[in-house]
């Protein structure tokens, strides 16, 4: 794997490989020495154009537990206004000889552009309202674990509801791509104002009625409602949103028992998710956080664990 940009770039086998590897990585958290030497001498830069303490920390720990040198660069604030182009910023960091750049940017597509400017492996840690592939991987990891414990199965054939601001959600986009590849069914639930243009072409079911959807789903993924959407006229009031689309206590009770509840965080308790749902026994919110480190270790290993290029086959390798 050269880069990880989109959840849609991964085949089912590749996803399963990453999730299996993440299972091995998760054991590291229980060891006295929480470190593997695999990426010794490799340098990973977390280049964050947008604040995200939890995602950055998760990547930082993942890199460090693999013995990579991890450097955090906050490039927050509009580079446009400072006169420095994205290309300048990225090439400056690239010139330091880094092996991988973990990029978070408020603009959709920025990591794609970056691949044309530097040699490093690019890992998309969230681009605008587009994608967040490691979030989808950690969600799949968390849900797969849950279903394995529950009945020994995986995600194939499960129905997952993704509820909330799909339009502006990179978590939703990456999850739709990944879950579909893994053979799960996806139901998107949101008011029409928070559904992306062209949603009818997505391989998902669409509903505006959460109560009708919930009893039939195997998992619920709640999306965060960004504060700026509340004043953007996407829905009348937070109250109406909660009553219509929030995972309230009565809705929690309408779920089949054991139906796992996910949320990428940070949660707006009382808005899209009630405290009862967030803290329910079936809530996997903290499992998701723990899974984040394991999954990101797996991805970093996949990107940086081997040779930089396919090696030229030499005689002694043929013989070995």
């Amino acid at each position: 794997m050269r880069h990880l940009l989109s959840a849609g770039d991964l085949s089912a086998d590749e996803i399963t490989g990453i999730l299996d590897l993440a299972e091995e990585m998760s054991a590291v958290q229980d060891r006295p020495v929480k470190k593997l030497p695999a990426l010794r001498g490799r340098t990973v830069v977390n280049l964050f154009f947008e604040d995200s303490t939890r995602t950055r920390s998760s990547f930082e720990i993942a890199g460090k537990w693999l013995s990579a040198d991890v450097i955090n660069i906050s490039a927050k604030g509009s580079a446009v206004s400072k006169g420095e182009s994205l290309r300048d910023t990225v090439m400056t960091v690239g010139a330091m000889g880094v092996d991988a750049m973990v990029i978070r940017h408020m603009a959709s597509g920025a990591p794609w552009q970056v691949t044309g400017w530097v040699d490093a492996s690019i890992l998309n840690a969230g681009d605008g309202t587009h994608e967040h592939p490691t979030q989808a991987l950690l969600d799949a990891f968390t849900l797969r674990r849950h279903f394995r414990r529950l009945d020994g199965g995986d995600l194939t054939g499960r129905t997952v509801a993704i509820v909330g601001d799909v339009t502006h959600s990179r978590v939703a986009r990456s999850n739709v791509l990944l879950l579909r590849t893994l053979g799960a069914k996806v139901v998107l639930v949101a008011p029409p104002t928070l559904m992306p243009a062209g949603i009818e072409t997505w391989p998902v079911a669409v509903s505006h009625d959460l109560d009708a959807v919930l009893p039939a789903v195997d998992a619920v993924m709640m999306l965060r409602v960004q504060r700026e959407r509340m004043s953007g006229g996407y829905f009348p009031t937070p109250r109406e949103y909660t009553i219509s689309y929030g995972l309230t206590r009565p809705r929690l009770e309408s779920l089949r028992p054991d139906t796992p509840i996910c949320h990428p965080g940070p949660m707006n308790r009382g808005l899209e998710i009630s405290a009862e749902a967030a803290d329910a026994a079936s809530s996997l919110v903290l499992d998701q956080v723990a899974a984040g480190v394991s999954v990101r270790m797996a991805v970093l290993y996949e990107l940086l664990g081997g040779a930089e290029e396919m090696p030229v086959t030499r005689a002694h390798e043929v013989l070995a």
Partner: protein, 191 residues
Amino acid sequence: MDADQIARACARMAHQILEANRGASGLMLLGIPTRGVPLAHRLAAAIAAVEQVEIPTGSLDITMYRDDLRSQPTRAVGPTHLPSSVDDAVVVLVDDVLYSGRTVRAALDALGDIGRPRAVRLAVLVDRGHRQLPIRADHVGKNLPTAASERVGVKLTEIDGVTEVTISRPAGTTTDPLGPARGESDPVEEA
């Protein structure tokens, strides 16, 4: 070696392990994936046949500790399964072929990060020579002098559907005894 010879080698090693440890107390068998793992279970079974005890048996993947990670595409990582804490256990590392010694070096590093065994021993089915590190096995199924250009192929029923050890010499090859060995075993097995 055929299946019978391999079974006898395992039985012999089981006896040696018990003898060296003066019994089964504190023993733990950790196989190095891929073929070290079924071998460890075979040894455990052979020990059980002698001593009527269940030796804790698991696997220890060493991929992340290899010194040649960067010389080829990303390697698949095998499972690590520890039956219990390795602290104060007498860990017997089990592998199919001992060659350069680099896999064992990696395994010792991995073990050190997991805990602090009382002692670590090494059991291998085949020792083919050509060590590149100061490492030797405590228990050897069979010493098999080979040329570096030869391939030693270990097959186990659990993985390959057949149990045998073969030596083959690829046509038109040259010898490179100190070349960076790709691990202990036949590259076919690692593909």
